[in-house]
Protein backbone atom coordinates (compact mmCIF):
# COMPACT_ATOMS: atom_id res chain seq x y z
CA UNK A 1 0.00 0.00 0.00
CA UNK A 2 1.39 3.35 -0.97
CA UNK A 3 -0.62 6.45 -0.20
CA UNK A 4 0.10 9.46 -2.36
CA UNK A 5 -0.09 12.87 -0.75
CA UNK A 6 0.18 15.84 -3.07
CA UNK A 7 1.67 18.83 -1.33
CA UNK A 8 2.62 22.19 -2.69
CA UNK A 9 5.49 23.64 -0.68
CA UNK A 10 4.18 27.15 -1.26
CA UNK A 11 1.14 26.60 0.94
CA UNK A 12 2.23 23.88 3.31
CA UNK A 13 5.01 24.83 5.64
CA UNK A 14 4.35 21.95 8.05
CA UNK A 15 5.27 19.27 5.55
CA UNK A 16 8.32 21.14 4.34
CA UNK A 17 9.46 21.82 7.91
CA UNK A 18 9.03 18.16 8.86
CA UNK A 19 11.00 16.86 5.91
CA UNK A 20 13.70 19.50 6.34
CA UNK A 21 13.95 18.68 10.06
CA UNK A 22 14.31 14.96 9.35
CA UNK A 23 16.95 15.65 6.70
CA UNK A 24 18.93 17.76 9.18
CA UNK A 25 18.63 15.11 11.90
CA UNK A 26 19.80 12.43 9.49
CA UNK A 27 22.82 14.48 8.45
CA UNK A 28 23.76 15.03 12.10
CA UNK A 29 23.27 11.32 12.81
CA UNK A 30 25.46 10.37 9.84
CA UNK A 31 28.40 12.25 11.36
CA UNK A 32 28.05 10.33 14.63
CA UNK A 33 27.66 7.04 12.75
CA UNK A 34 30.80 7.77 10.71
CA UNK A 35 32.72 8.34 13.93
CA UNK A 36 31.58 5.16 15.65
CA UNK A 37 32.01 2.92 12.59
CA UNK A 38 35.37 4.22 11.41
CA UNK A 39 37.30 1.19 12.66
CA UNK A 40 35.04 -1.36 10.99
CA UNK A 41 35.08 0.68 7.79
CA UNK A 42 38.87 0.76 7.73
CA UNK A 43 39.00 -2.96 8.37
CA UNK A 44 36.68 -3.64 5.42
CA UNK A 45 38.72 -1.42 3.11
CA UNK A 46 41.92 -3.11 4.21
CA UNK A 47 40.45 -6.58 3.62
CA UNK A 48 39.15 -5.52 0.22
CA UNK A 49 42.52 -4.16 -0.87
CA UNK A 50 44.19 -7.44 0.11
CA UNK A 51 41.50 -9.55 -1.57
Amino acid sequence: MLKKVVISPTNNHKAVAFLEDIKAKKEAAKKKIDERTVRVREMLLKQNSIG
Partner: protein, 173 residues
Protein backbone atom coordinates in the same frame (compact mmCIF):
# COMPACT_ATOMS: atom_id res chain seq x y z
CA UNK B 1 26.23 -9.58 -8.74
CA UNK B 2 22.71 -9.16 -10.17
CA UNK B 3 20.03 -10.26 -7.68
CA UNK B 4 22.66 -11.15 -5.11
CA UNK B 5 23.79 -9.23 -2.08
CA UNK B 6 27.03 -8.32 -0.37
CA UNK B 7 28.08 -9.87 2.92
CA UNK B 8 27.42 -7.49 5.79
CA UNK B 9 28.56 -6.99 9.38
CA UNK B 10 26.40 -5.92 12.32
CA UNK B 11 27.64 -3.79 15.21
CA UNK B 12 25.58 -2.60 18.16
CA UNK B 13 26.11 0.38 20.47
CA UNK B 14 23.78 2.26 22.87
CA UNK B 15 23.32 4.89 20.12
CA UNK B 16 22.02 2.48 17.54
CA UNK B 17 22.61 -0.60 15.44
CA UNK B 18 24.87 -0.39 12.41
CA UNK B 19 25.38 -2.70 9.47
CA UNK B 20 28.32 -2.26 7.12
CA UNK B 21 29.20 -3.75 3.76
CA UNK B 22 31.71 -3.03 1.03
CA UNK B 23 30.97 -3.11 -2.69
CA UNK B 24 33.13 -4.38 -5.51
CA UNK B 25 34.02 -0.74 -6.24
CA UNK B 26 35.49 -0.22 -2.79
CA UNK B 27 32.60 1.82 -1.43
CA UNK B 28 31.69 1.14 2.19
CA UNK B 29 28.00 1.51 3.02
CA UNK B 30 26.68 1.94 6.53
CA UNK B 31 23.01 1.19 7.21
CA UNK B 32 21.96 2.30 10.68
CA UNK B 33 18.82 1.94 12.76
CA UNK B 34 18.39 4.89 15.10
CA UNK B 35 15.67 4.64 17.81
CA UNK B 36 15.66 8.38 18.49
CA UNK B 37 15.44 9.83 14.96
CA UNK B 38 11.67 10.35 15.02
CA UNK B 39 11.29 10.65 18.79
CA UNK B 40 10.28 14.29 18.57
CA UNK B 41 7.07 13.40 16.77
CA UNK B 42 5.56 11.28 19.55
CA UNK B 43 2.28 13.15 19.63
CA UNK B 44 1.61 12.23 16.06
CA UNK B 45 2.72 8.61 16.19
CA UNK B 46 3.37 7.12 19.63
CA UNK B 47 3.46 3.51 18.36
CA UNK B 48 5.98 4.29 15.67
CA UNK B 49 8.11 6.47 17.88
CA UNK B 50 8.11 3.90 20.70
CA UNK B 51 8.75 0.85 18.54
CA UNK B 52 10.28 2.54 15.50
CA UNK B 53 13.85 2.81 14.30
CA UNK B 54 14.78 5.45 11.78
CA UNK B 55 16.75 4.12 8.83
CA UNK B 56 19.87 6.06 7.91
CA UNK B 57 22.34 5.07 5.28
CA UNK B 58 25.55 6.62 4.05
CA UNK B 59 28.69 5.64 2.23
CA UNK B 60 32.39 6.40 2.07
CA UNK B 61 34.67 5.65 -0.85
CA UNK B 62 37.95 3.88 -0.44
CA UNK B 63 40.80 4.25 -2.90
CA UNK B 64 39.75 3.77 -6.50
CA UNK B 65 39.62 0.18 -7.62
CA UNK B 66 39.34 -0.69 -11.30
CA UNK B 67 36.97 -3.58 -11.80
CA UNK B 68 35.82 -5.32 -14.97
CA UNK B 69 33.38 -3.68 -17.30
CA UNK B 70 32.59 -0.82 -14.94
CA UNK B 71 36.18 0.41 -14.92
CA UNK B 72 35.79 1.41 -11.31
CA UNK B 73 33.13 4.02 -12.11
CA UNK B 74 31.40 5.27 -8.97
CA UNK B 75 28.17 6.35 -10.52
CA UNK B 76 26.96 3.23 -12.23
CA UNK B 77 23.90 1.63 -10.69
CA UNK B 78 25.00 -1.31 -8.56
CA UNK B 79 21.77 -3.25 -8.16
CA UNK B 80 23.30 -5.36 -5.40
CA UNK B 81 23.37 -2.32 -3.10
CA UNK B 82 19.57 -2.08 -2.95
CA UNK B 83 19.24 -5.83 -2.56
CA UNK B 84 21.76 -5.77 0.28
CA UNK B 85 19.91 -2.96 2.06
CA UNK B 86 16.70 -5.02 1.86
CA UNK B 87 18.53 -8.05 3.27
CA UNK B 88 19.84 -5.89 6.11
CA UNK B 89 16.35 -4.59 6.92
CA UNK B 90 15.08 -8.19 6.97
CA UNK B 91 17.94 -9.24 9.24
CA UNK B 92 17.23 -6.35 11.59
CA UNK B 93 13.51 -7.16 11.78
CA UNK B 94 14.18 -10.87 12.29
CA UNK B 95 16.71 -10.31 15.07
CA UNK B 96 14.89 -7.64 17.06
CA UNK B 97 13.85 -8.83 20.50
CA UNK B 98 10.44 -7.16 20.22
CA UNK B 99 8.28 -6.35 17.16
CA UNK B 100 9.63 -3.13 15.63
CA UNK B 101 9.09 -0.82 12.69
CA UNK B 102 11.78 0.45 10.35
CA UNK B 103 10.85 4.02 9.47
CA UNK B 104 12.31 5.51 6.34
CA UNK B 105 12.21 8.81 4.53
CA UNK B 106 13.98 9.32 1.23
CA UNK B 107 14.03 11.50 -1.82
CA UNK B 108 12.54 9.56 -4.68
CA UNK B 109 14.83 10.45 -7.54
CA UNK B 110 18.02 10.78 -5.53
CA UNK B 111 17.77 7.58 -3.58
CA UNK B 112 15.25 5.37 -5.32
CA UNK B 113 17.93 3.40 -7.10
CA UNK B 114 18.94 2.15 -3.65
CA UNK B 115 15.46 1.72 -2.27
CA UNK B 116 13.61 0.66 -5.40
CA UNK B 117 13.49 -2.99 -4.31
CA UNK B 118 12.14 -2.21 -0.85
CA UNK B 119 8.58 -1.36 -1.74
CA UNK B 120 8.27 -4.17 -4.27
CA UNK B 121 9.91 -6.70 -1.95
CA UNK B 122 8.08 -5.72 1.18
CA UNK B 123 4.66 -5.14 -0.31
CA UNK B 124 4.69 -8.53 -2.05
CA UNK B 125 6.63 -10.54 0.50
CA UNK B 126 4.43 -12.66 2.73
CA UNK B 127 6.55 -12.09 5.85
CA UNK B 128 6.85 -8.30 5.70
CA UNK B 129 4.64 -5.32 5.17
CA UNK B 130 5.62 -1.95 3.69
CA UNK B 131 3.42 1.10 4.13
CA UNK B 132 4.35 4.44 2.65
CA UNK B 133 3.26 7.92 1.77
CA UNK B 134 4.55 9.69 -1.29
CA UNK B 135 4.90 13.42 -0.85
CA UNK B 136 4.58 14.93 -4.29
CA UNK B 137 6.19 18.36 -4.30
CA UNK B 138 6.49 20.45 -7.42
CA UNK B 139 10.17 19.75 -7.97
CA UNK B 140 10.76 16.58 -5.99
CA UNK B 141 9.07 13.53 -4.53
CA UNK B 142 9.72 12.02 -1.14
CA UNK B 143 8.75 8.78 0.50
CA UNK B 144 7.91 8.43 4.15
CA UNK B 145 6.82 5.11 5.56
CA UNK B 146 7.68 1.99 7.46
CA UNK B 147 8.45 -1.68 7.08
CA UNK B 148 7.62 -4.36 9.63
CA UNK B 149 7.00 -8.06 9.99
CA UNK B 150 3.51 -9.10 8.95
CA UNK B 151 2.79 -10.55 12.40
CA UNK B 152 3.56 -7.30 14.22
CA UNK B 153 0.58 -6.82 16.55
CA UNK B 154 0.80 -3.03 16.27
CA UNK B 155 0.50 -2.75 12.48
CA UNK B 156 -3.03 -1.35 12.51
CA UNK B 157 -2.14 1.28 15.10
CA UNK B 158 0.93 2.25 13.10
CA UNK B 159 -1.06 2.55 9.86
CA UNK B 160 -3.62 4.80 11.56
CA UNK B 161 -0.82 6.93 12.97
CA UNK B 162 0.85 7.27 9.59
CA UNK B 163 -2.43 8.16 7.89
CA UNK B 164 -3.34 10.64 10.63
CA UNK B 165 0.09 12.17 10.38
CA UNK B 166 -0.10 12.45 6.59
CA UNK B 167 -3.55 14.05 6.87
CA UNK B 168 -2.37 16.57 9.46
CA UNK B 169 0.78 17.45 7.61
CA UNK B 170 -0.95 17.84 4.25
CA UNK B 171 -3.52 20.34 5.51
CA UNK B 172 -2.95 23.85 4.26
CA UNK B 173 -1.60 26.31 6.80
Amino acid sequence: MANSYYNFFRTETPDGIDYLFITQNNRVYTVSFDPSLYGEYTESFPTLSTHGYGLIFSYKDGSKKVIGRNNGARNYCDSSVGVTICEIISDFLKNSEEPVFVILQCEKYKEEKFFHPWYKNYSEHSKYKGIGIEFDFVDEKQYFGFICKIDNANIEKAVVELETFSFEISKND
